[in-house]
């Protein structure tokens, strides 16, 4: 079924790949009238958005996982874990609506504008956040939505560390902070795997990005300008793409690249976890 899916994508991509070759991935143009396409912008946009998303969710989910594993007991632990589970299953469209109506204005007023005012000379913050819909907003929104996913992987790994390690830490008189530091260093491969999985998930996420990224075919180093990711591009252009020659196929080709990246990353990450488990846990 998997091969089947990929071959459908591939089959539909061939047309554009043979027409444009690799130059398709070297430019940023979307001009169906003249049949000129280049999807460098969306592909970079996808990578940058996912990077922001992973950094946001690393900070949040690491603390969340530590809190649940180390500081909470009994009922409070159960309740907080249930809330995390609840967040994990929440339909992404609800996150998307919330992010576009509340998170984006909040980020614009409290983070983007101060950063732009203070550090306009750094290219990343060089453009004025006009609407707030931007790569940065999409990354943060995605990061928040992947927290439960990343946190649950980290938590599982962390709680799988054999008790003896923990006892050894406290046995030599470590404070809780020192013990957590040591235990976290033991979980490092699993945390990295969790991040790769979070990254892979962010690559293909559509709904939240389509609502927050501002949909614009540009290539700029600035994080506060509207942009595109591959999936947002597909979501907004695919419905009309059949009207133009090659447009549909270009979308298939860029989605094929995203899909393959996502699959390879997540297989690599799950191998990391399996290796880590056989080394540390057993």
């Amino acid at each position: 079924m998997l091969l089947f899916l990929i071959s459908i994508l591939l089959f539909n991509s061939i047309e554009s790949l043979s027409a444009y070759g690799l130059s398709l991935f070297a430019k940023t143009v979307w001009d169906p009238e003249n049949g000129v396409y280049g999807v460098l912008g969306p592909i970079l946009g996808t990578l940058i958005t996912s990077l922001i998303s992973v950094s946001v969710s690393l900070v949040l989910s690491l603390s969340l996982a530590i809190t649940i594993a180390e500081y909470l007991k009994g009922y409070s632990k159960k309740i907080i874990s249930s809330i995390v589970e609840f967040m994990g299953g929440l339909p992404t469209i609800i996150y998307a609506v919330w992010a576009s109506e509340y998170l984006v204005p909040f980020l614009k007023n409290n983070i983007m504008e101060p950063l732009h005012a203070l550090l306009p000379f750094i290219p990343l913050f060089s453009c004025k956040p006009i609407t707030g819909f931007s790569t940065f907003a999409a990354g943060v929104a995605l990061g928040i939505s992947t927290v439960p996913y990343v946190a649950s992987i980290i938590l599982e790994a962390y709680e799988n560390i054999p008790l003896t390690y923990r006892e050894a830490c406290y046995g030599i008189g470590a404070t809780k902070y020192e013990a957590i530091k040591i235990l976290l260093s033991l979980t490092k491969p699993a945390i990295i795997a969790a991040l790769i999985l979070g990254f892979a998930r962010s690559l293909g996420e559509t709904t939240i990005v389509a609502f927050t990224i501002g949909n614009s075919m540009t290539l700029t180093p600035c994080l506060f300008a509207p942009s595109y990711t591959v999936s947002a591009l597909v979501a907004s252009q695919f419905a009309n793409a059949f009207l133009y020659q090659h447009a549909e196929s270009v979308l298939y080709a860029s989605m094929l690249v995203t899909t393959l990246t996502s699959i390879i990353l997540s297989l690599y990450a799950s191998k990391l976890i399996v290796d880590w488990r056989s080394r540390v846990v057993v």
């Binding site: 603390s63 299953g89 809780k176 419905a239 699959i263």
Partner: protein
């Protein structure tokens, strides 16, 4: 006397707590604002919200989301049983014969399938099912290729299958080996052990898996973007007719510039959130019972 080590320990605890609270804030804020913005819509529209057609962009009446509601219900009804049966069987296969080559292959495929972007599935199903249906003259609804209940449900099955498979195999693996050994020792066949022992032990967990899969199917947006057809002025009469779903309605209406559509989208978001909360709490109650037994 506090040494630096103790102070650092406390500071770390505070920082971790702070960030953890920050991580949980969005969900509370989200639930509150969805209620604040969604409730007025539903109250204003009244019961008609669930039985009426959506409004035209400039209408004063709010109308309702009946076609989307029916569509979501219909596609869930079709895709859920298929997903559950396929997911359960593959999970049984893989947990019973974990070393066989087929099982390893199935496991890898499930892992990769769950990382395929849902919108990619939507595109693939569009080029396969939608285009195929479109070539049959009797089934064509319009000149442009439109989606159908069939294409939407198939896309949902592909999305939900790895999800439900992961759930099922986790639960099946949690059955203690002693139970199975006891069953084998009294001469039960492999099949009988699965049906009479394993399934009974994890019966309630299976209900949870079914509920969570259902939540996943109901909330899926991207998979339906090109497969369902976004047909909002009526309900489908056959599986080849285009259809709508609640997440799709929210997607389109929220991104539209019309005030009345925004209102409807908020109402629909609240409806979706309530559905999800209901499913989640029922699942939690079932899990609680599992632990007591």
């Amino acid at each position: 006397m506090y040494s630096w080590r103790r102070i650092r320990d406390r500071l770390f605890e505070l920082a971790v707590f702070g960030v953890a609270i920050l991580a949980l804030t969005p969900i509370f804020h989200l639930i509150i604002v969805v209620f604040i913005d969604g409730l007025p819509t539903i109250l204003e529209a009244g019961l008609e919200f669930f039985v009426d057609l959506p409004p035209t962009p400039l209408s004063r009446r709010l109308g309702g989301i009946a076609p989307s509601l029916v569509g979501t219900f219909l596609m869930t009804l079709i895709s859920l049983p298929v997903t559950i049966v396929l997911g359960l069987f593959t999970a049984i296969l893989v947990t019973e014969f974990p070393k066989s080559r087929l099982s390893i292959l199935v496991d890898t495929v499930a892992k990769s399938l769950s990382s395929v972007p849902t919108i990619a599935v939507s595109m693939a199903m569009f080029s396969l099912v939608v285009m195929l249906v479109n070539t049959i003259p009797e089934l064509r609804v319009s000149l442009n290729p439109a989606g159908s209940v069939l294409a939407g449900s198939l896309a949902l099955v592909i999305i939900a299958l790895p999800f439900s498979y992961t759930y099922f195999s986790t639960f099946l693996r949690s059955v203690p080996a002693t139970y199975k050994e006891a069953a084998y020792s009294i001469g039960m066949s492999r099949w009988a052990v699965i049906v009479k022992v394993v399934i009974l032990v994890v019966k309630k967990s299976i209900i949870v898996a079914v509920l969570m899969t259902m939540a996943r199917i109901m909330g899926e947006t991207a998979a339906l973007l090109f497969t369902a057809g976004r047909y909002r002025s009526g309900v489908p009469t056959s599986i080849f007719d285009p259809v709508d779903a609640i997440p799709l309605l929210i997607f389109d209406y929220m991104l539209s510039p019309f005030e009345v559509w925004h209102k409807v989208a908020w109402g629909a978001t609240l409806v979706l959130l309530l559905f999800y909360m209901l499913i989640f709490f029922v699942a939690k109650v079932v899990v609680k019972e599992v632990k007591l037994v």
